[in-house]
């Protein structure tokens, strides 16, 4: 799976491309874990280019949220298309995450 990265002043942005399914999610999980292990504490996951997400992808979001729970660490999700958002809603995940419409708002949220 391709994962685009952008280093912003406030956070590291990761943008996975394509399906977040039971095969590709482990690649994203390893990628996120490597960045957090390297000391990254403020992460934006931009899901705008994600075709769909299954429970394996939800699991990666949950693991990242658990590791970034204590401020000043932070995780912000953005760019959720209707399908991705619906899956998060059905799973009861929406209240568990900071969610912004797009990358600019996600970064703005972390600059305060």
């Amino acid at each position: 799976m391709r994962i685009d990265e952008e280093r912003a002043a406030q956070a590291l942005v990761l943008a996975p491309q394509g399906r977040l399914d039971s095969v590709t999610s482990s690649e994203l999980e390893r990628h996120v874990a490597a960045r957090l292990d390297a000391g990254e504490r403020r992460l934006v996951l931009d899901l705008a280019a994600v075709e769909y997400i299954s429970s394996a992808g939800l699991r990666v979001l949950l693991v990242a949220a658990k590791r970034l729970k204590e401020p000043p660490a932070a995780l912000v999700l953005c760019g959720l298309g209707p399908g991705v958002r619906t899956v998060l809603e059905l799973a009861g995940f929406v209240p568990l995450f900071a969610i912004e419409p797009a990358r600019a708002q996600a970064l703005a949220r972390l600059s305060g």
Partner: protein, 146 residues
């Protein structure tokens, strides 16, 4: 009616192949992701379950048989998936639904897949027949939003 039958190894590579086949079927008929994603997510959930549980440890020697069927004569189009394996008897629909009201730190990681499939598909049925697990899933391809 367009029916595609395939047999894939019981591995991640097999799951990828099956998801590619479904994506190819719906795109050959010009269907938008906005109506097909619930079926694609459901196929991933069901196959992950089969590969990681029913067929676990058997590698590429085990296979999963699939029928992917798209009926575009109806409006909306309808999609049916049949997934079968020769693993030990296991009815995924008999599992308890996870508690989605727990706080993030209390959530068990995983266990959501089949609950999602029930919400995303119109109809899901399991049967054990001729020594095989057989799961049949069906959905009318209309947009689904929470």
């Amino acid at each position: 009616m367009d029916t595609r039958r395939l047999s894939v190894p019981g591995t991640d590579e097999g799951v990828r192949e099956a998801l590619d086949a479904l994506a190819g079927l719906v795109s050959d008929h010009g269907l938008s992701k906005s109506v097909t994603w619930p079926v694609e997510v459901s196929l991933d959930e069901v196959l992950a379950n089969v590969v990681h549980h029913a067929l676990a440890g058997r590698g590429a020697a085990a296979t999963v048989e699939l029928e992917l069927r798209l009926d575009t004569r109806t409006v909306p189009a309808e999609c049916e998936l049949v997934v079968s394996d020769d693993g030990p008897e296991f009815d995924p629909l008999a599992a308890d639904a996870p508690d989605t009201s727990l706080a993030v730190e209390d959530r068990p990681v995983g266990g959501l897949g089949i609950a999602l499939v029930r919400r995303l598909m119109d109809d899901v049925a399991y049967e054990r027949r001729d020594g095989r697990n057989r799961l049949r899933l069906r959905r009318r391809l209309v947009a689904l939003e929470g």
